[in-house]
Symmetry: C2
């Protein structure tokens, strides 16, 4: 049985923070066969279950009796679909956390921030089983198993495109994964080219997460002055140039459109700004480091983005803790 | 009588903060004819005098009876030498503060941070009377008339070089001004080309003041990691390229030398970082804005420096107060 043939595929969720908790809970509520892999929050979730509070849709609680939770992936069943929802700072744990869940025909779907997650999973487990996606959702983990959903929530998923490869388009297994989410009330678009989705999201994530973390400024302060807009635009233009060199030319008007859209978000603090404020490690390599290295590999100069990358590393609580 | 012919030239000090207070007090102690122009600190200094505390040389106090202080420049005598020691954020007051002190042969010597101060003074009062200099001193104003001298203190001064002009070398009036400082125990070098001195200092000031203010990091944090050194070096290379296009090629090893020298300064907080911490307006236009505009005029790309300029403006308490 596989994701394509199983009437009720076995779904494992690795990393039950905000994203893994939110989508995992929705799949469970819809009656799917979901197995949650937790580390720090294992005891609390096993005791108290999962709770989703939402500002824009009905909240719900899943008591522990309705959950299958594991602290050791060896105790969980092999999965048809492994949803990887770790913070990208935890990717060093891919092998011990994901490996034991895999059988020959398992599909991995990473829903993480930034660039390079699919490549790392492909290196470890084979490119042919890797798919990826982006969550467009405003969401926070307010405590173990406590998820505060603020807005949005749709997914875009697609097949991993190895370096130098061509996008295979919408495959049956990605369509099937999308169906699972849709059956749980989650809008899920299937991308013909995952790279396009990644770069479109990076176009926003690099400046807003980067500047949010470096300067500790929310989105309203960044778009609220001519200086902020000039700064955002300069960085976004560099990102768009890398995307184009990477085979994904973005429409030029996307920069203005993303800035205009951000104005509707109020004083939104990006995830990396929140991580900085909470003293947590920053997803700086996935969101900024990998794109800068991709630019270098492609010979595209990104001086402002590279400066921002260095600044965020200087402000990274993980770096400071390591005495860098 | 002029700066060159007067046995005891009339010296006016405009702006008695850290720099104006320190050099003004030294000149007064050496018996020179010094007139201090103050605004906010006028009453306090008229009552309590000037006090210089130093970590590296003997401190001293000048009681009010030994000072000539003015809140209105119309009350002060016309000066042979006008030392301008305002914060560059106060340059809008050049005309009302400096104008009334001038006679036909007055010499203006601006000892302020950044680029463009001489040009602004030249526009107002004529290029032929403007000279300028840099203070290499670690110094703070801890209260009205209270100066805390931490280290160093020498000056480099020279003739203003208008845009497109050639440096006239060491002129008698600049030599004479240097003598006055030397007679007060202040090392003072005369520059053949003031622009070289300005750009050498900007090579340090732009990255260290800029990053100090944008990120609220002291020098030890900036030079203490490979990321910080890479970031500083990228910005300094851009600054050196502008200096070269402006007619002042700097020796390539100066970048490493300045970074190495900064390591001897410990956890030094630049003036702009201190201003940020105190909620004071930042000298962002003199230190970053003017150099960026000079680069644009000269057609030299400075993307990292321009990004830093925008970031510092975003963090400027003056900008935030104005609701930018």
């Amino acid at each position: 049985m596989s994701l394509l043939t199983a009437p009720k595929p076995v779904i494992a969720v690795v990393g039950v923070g905000a994203v893994g908790g939110y989508y995992g809970a929705k799949l469970i509520r819809a009656g799917h066969d979901v197995h949650l892999l937790l580390r720090a929050d294992y005891e609390a979730v096993r005791r108290d279950g999962l709770n989703v509070r939402s500002d824009v849709e009905e909240g719900f609680h899943l008591p522990s009796g309705e959950l299958r939770v594991y602290s050791d992936p060896a105790d969980a069943p092999k999965a048809d679909l492994v949803l990887v929802c770790l913070k990208a700072t935890g990717n060093a744990a891919y092998e011990p956390l994901v490996g034991p869940l895999l059988k020959d025909d398992s599909t991995i779907l990473t829903i993480q921030n930034g660039l390079g997650n699919e490549d790392q999973l492909a290196d470890l487990f084979g490119a042919d089983r890797v798919t990826g996606g982006m969550a467009f959702v405003c969401i926070h983990r307010t405590g173990p198993g406590l998820i505060h959903h603020i807005d949005h929530g749709f997914l875009k998923i697609g097949e991993h495109v190895p370096a130098g490869g061509s996008p295979p388009g919408a495959t049956p297994r990605v369509e099937r994964a999308a169906e699972l989410f849709r059956s749980a009330g989650v809008r899920c678009d299937v991308l013909d080219d995952l790279r396009r989705g990644r770069w479109e999201k990076l176009l926003w994530n690099i400046p807003f997460n980067g500047l949010g973390a470096a300067l500790d400024l929310a989105t309203d302060r960044l778009i609220g002055s001519a200086d902020g807009v000039a700064l955002l635009t300069a960085i976004m233009r560099e990102v768009a140039a890398v995307a184009a060199a990477d085979g994904v030319p973005l429409p030029p008007e996307l920069i203005d459109r993303q800035i205009t859209h951000t104005a509707t978000m109020g004083a939104y603090r990006s995830s990396m700004q929140l991580d900085r404020q909470a003293g947590r490690p920053l997803e700086v390599e996935a969101i900024l480091g990998e794109p800068v290295r991709r630019a270098q590999k492609l010979g595209v100069p990104v001086p402002a983005t590279e400066a921002l990358y260095r600044m965020v590393r200087l402000m990274d609580p993980a770096g400071a803790a390591a005495g860098q």
